[in-house]
């Protein structure tokens, strides 16, 4: 073997980290939304809308940051629909999220038609970190990503700290665990939930944009290809903790890479394409067992609309 184990791990990470980055953004956002008590199954729709709008704006303006910003706004806007339906109108969260995904897939298909096959001049470029990027081997393999990868990594401790160590985080968690008690303490339950869901949508939008302005970089109809659903599963795998979201996202990024690496061995690409989805089922199964054993689980008020009259 010409490649030693150390080099192999680095190579795997180099490929897995960018592949897992859209999942990381999506999962971090969904963790916050679900912590507030709102399940949003619309991640796939918000991601694909982020991908198409991010690409469209980056392509038109020539500025990739306008694209990413637009993707965040579009994701947030879609999430706002879900928030209004679930928080204000108190409709079924599963169905509303599903509707959002359908809507996103439909609109993105129509919006993106003119961008199919278009090159992107303003793609996100790898950044050079003085010192680190110049390290031999490691520098080349691990410190030549684009900025969204690093922001994603930095968001993990930041969002973890916010969630567990600040008043804001306690408020968010209490709204998801016991909204009546939070309400009694003067917390505006609806507002907190709106904010968390919209934040989740913005993150999903950025995750989608990462696909179209950096990872691909191109617009392909349906390019999220189920990533949004894997995000929902990763949120459960992460037991609603940003730190485990990082682990899960890169793990699934690694699976994506494995798919391509195994193909030359003569295994049918169709069978390999099943891998992430089968693994998702397995991970959900394991997570639910772990949750039962350790008596941890979803936020208690997840999927339960709150109203003062009916508490």
């Amino acid at each position: 073997m010409g490649v030693n184990i150390f080099e192999f791990i680095l190579l795997a990470l180099r490929a897995a980290i960018p592949a897992g980055t859209p999942l990381l953004y999506g999962t971090l956002g969904e963790v916050y939304a679900e912590r507030s008590g709102v399940l949003n199954l619309g991640v796939e729709g918000m991601m694909i809308m982020g991908a198409v709008s991010g690409f469209a704006v980056a392509h038109t303006t020539g500025n990739v940051w306008f694209g990413i910003l637009t993707a965040a706004l579009v994701g947030g806007l879609l999430a706002l629909i879900h928030a209004f339906a679930c928080i204000t109108l108190r409709v079924n969260q599963v169905v509303s999220g599903l509707a959002l995904t359908m809507l996103g897939l439909g609109i993105s298909g129509m919006m993106g038609k003119r961008y199919v096959g278009q090159p992107l001049a303003a793609r996100l470029q790898p950044i050079h970190i003085p010192g680190l990027s110049d390290l031999p081997v490691i520098g080349e393999l691990l410190f030549r990503f684009d900025i969204l990868v690093y922001i994603g990594i930095l968001l993990v401790p930041l969002l973890w700290f916010l969630l567990y160590k600040t008043r804001l985080g306690i408020t968010l968690r209490s709204v998801g665990e016991n909204p009546a008690a939070a309400d009694a303490l003067g917390v505006n339950v609806a507002f907190v939930r709106y904010a968390a869901v919209v934040f989740g949508g913005m993150m999903a939008g950025v995750g989608g944009a990462y696909l179209s302005v950096s990872y691909a970089p191109a617009w392909i109809e349906g390019m999220t290809a189920g990533a949004g659903w894997i995000v929902i599963a990763l949120t459960i795998f992460a037991i609603w903790d940003p730190r485990r979201a990082l682990l899960g996202a890169y793990l699934f990024g690694g699976v994506r890479v494995l798919q391509y690496r195994l193909q030359p061995l003569g295994i049918s690409p169709n069978l390999l394409n099943m891998l992430p989805f089968l693994l998702t089922i397995l991970v959900l199964w394991i997570s639910s067992g772990e949750a039962a054993r350790r008596h941890i689980g979803a936020p208690a008020a997840l999927m339960t609309p709150y109203s003062r009259e009916e508490r």
Binding site: G109, N270, L284
Partner: protein, 357 residues
């Protein structure tokens, strides 16, 4: 000081007339919303709607195609009314449909020489089994291990799609297909009869209507149907009443999966006479069936009607795709918007809503 807020008062009873009015208003509002979205995407909504209506309902040919497409929607949709009533969110009907198609095709590969009266029922049975198998995994994971069935059933849609692709690109690819990823054409004896000059494979339609009635009777007139409804409306109460959650969960999932499998069988044995790549077999019937079920307010009999409506929308959607050069995903806009307005309509039928300032 009190902030303005919306108050909900549950109605003591929800009059059926109000429910129908709420649904019609919801559909109208959904159409207006889709029109606005179309406008912003650069498509003239009036032209689009005219084409959709003319395509789906405005001609004899259009109506025939609408009925043809309503068949898989009805089968899968009726199954979903049962699953959703039992609060099992089977989102994977699309995958179960594809597995029905695979299992039906399997029969052809094993006993291609059987006569029609054996072959067609065998295909339907096998297709039902295929759908059931695919629904079994999410069902047992939910019933035994509390694994969320939304995600598992949906993941299996992707897996089923890849399996179909694997089969038609690989071991099952036909010999007379000039390189296309399809199986050989099924023997004539396996072709489900159609109404002369149309693609309406009427035995499947009759089967779908029969099953809609049967599921309705099951839900409203039997003990297990009562258990399903109680479990769906209030799982806690069902448990206290000694009802077997696992049994209900498995039953509704397996039946709904089986019905989706029948839909897949009808497509390969009544329309295509081959197994093809997944997107050729189904333009998302399994997902549109969710709207069929919800629009029917989870009433299996009403699903007969709503499947016709959404069948027409699919046909109309095809028409505007061709006429206005739109992508296949366009229909999903309708799906999403209609679904949103329909669940909102449920709410208006069940609650009095006032804005208090």
């Amino acid at each position: 000081m009190k902030a303005p807020h919306i108050r909900f008062e549950r109605r003591l009873s929800s009059p059926p007339g109000l429910q129908v009015v709420a649904l019609i208003v919801a559909l109208l509002l959904a159409m207006i919303t889709v029109g606005i979205i179309f406008y912003f995407l650069g498509v003239n909504p009036f032209v689009a709607f005219q084409r959709i209506f003319r395509g789906g309902f405005g001609s004899l040919f259009g109506l025939q195609e609408t009925v043809t497409k309503s068949i898989p929607l009805m089968l899968a949709g009726v199954g979903l009314t049962l699953a959703f009533r039992g609060r099992m969110y089977n989102i994977g009907a699309e995958g179960q449909l594809l597995m029905g198609a695979v299992f039906a095709t399997g029969v052809i590969r094993i006993v291609p020489d059987w006569p029609s009266y054996l072959l067609i029922p065998a295909m339907f049975l096998s297709g039902f089994l295929g759908g059931m198998v695919w629904a079994f995994f999410p069902a047992i994971l939910k019933a035994r291990f509390r694994v969320d069935e939304v995600l598992t059933s949906l993941m299996l849609v992707y897996v089923a799609g890849e399996l179909v692709r694997f089969l038609v690109y690989g071991p099952w690819r036909g010999t007379d297909t000039r390189g296309f990823p399809i199986t050989d054409e099924f023997p004539l004896a396996s072709h489900i009869p159609t109404l002369a000059g149309t693609r309406i494979h009427y035995p499947t339609w009759l089967l779908a209507v029969l099953l809609a009635v049967m599921i309705y009777v099951l839900l409203t007139r039997t003990k297990i149907g009562y258990e399903i409804r109680v479990t769906g409306e209030n799982p806690e109460a069902a448990r206290y009443a000694g009802m077997n959650y696992q049994r209900v969960a498995l039953l509704v999932m397996l039946i709904s999966g089986g019905l989706a499998g029948l839909a897949g069988t009808g497509e390969v044995a009544g329309i295509h006479f081959r197994l093809r790549p997944p997107e050729a077999i189904s333009p998302g019937y399994g997902f549109t069936a969710i709207i069929v079920a919800w629009l029917a307010r989870l009433n299996p009999l009403a699903a007969i009607l709503t499947s016709f409506l959404l069948g027409g929308l699919l046909v109309g959607g095809d028409a505007i795709q061709i006429a206005l050069n739109l992508p296949a995903a366009t229909v999903q806009i309708f799906n999403g918007v209609i679904l949103l307005f329909v669940i909102a309509a449920d709410l208006f039928a069940q609650y009095k809503i006032r804005l208090e300032v």
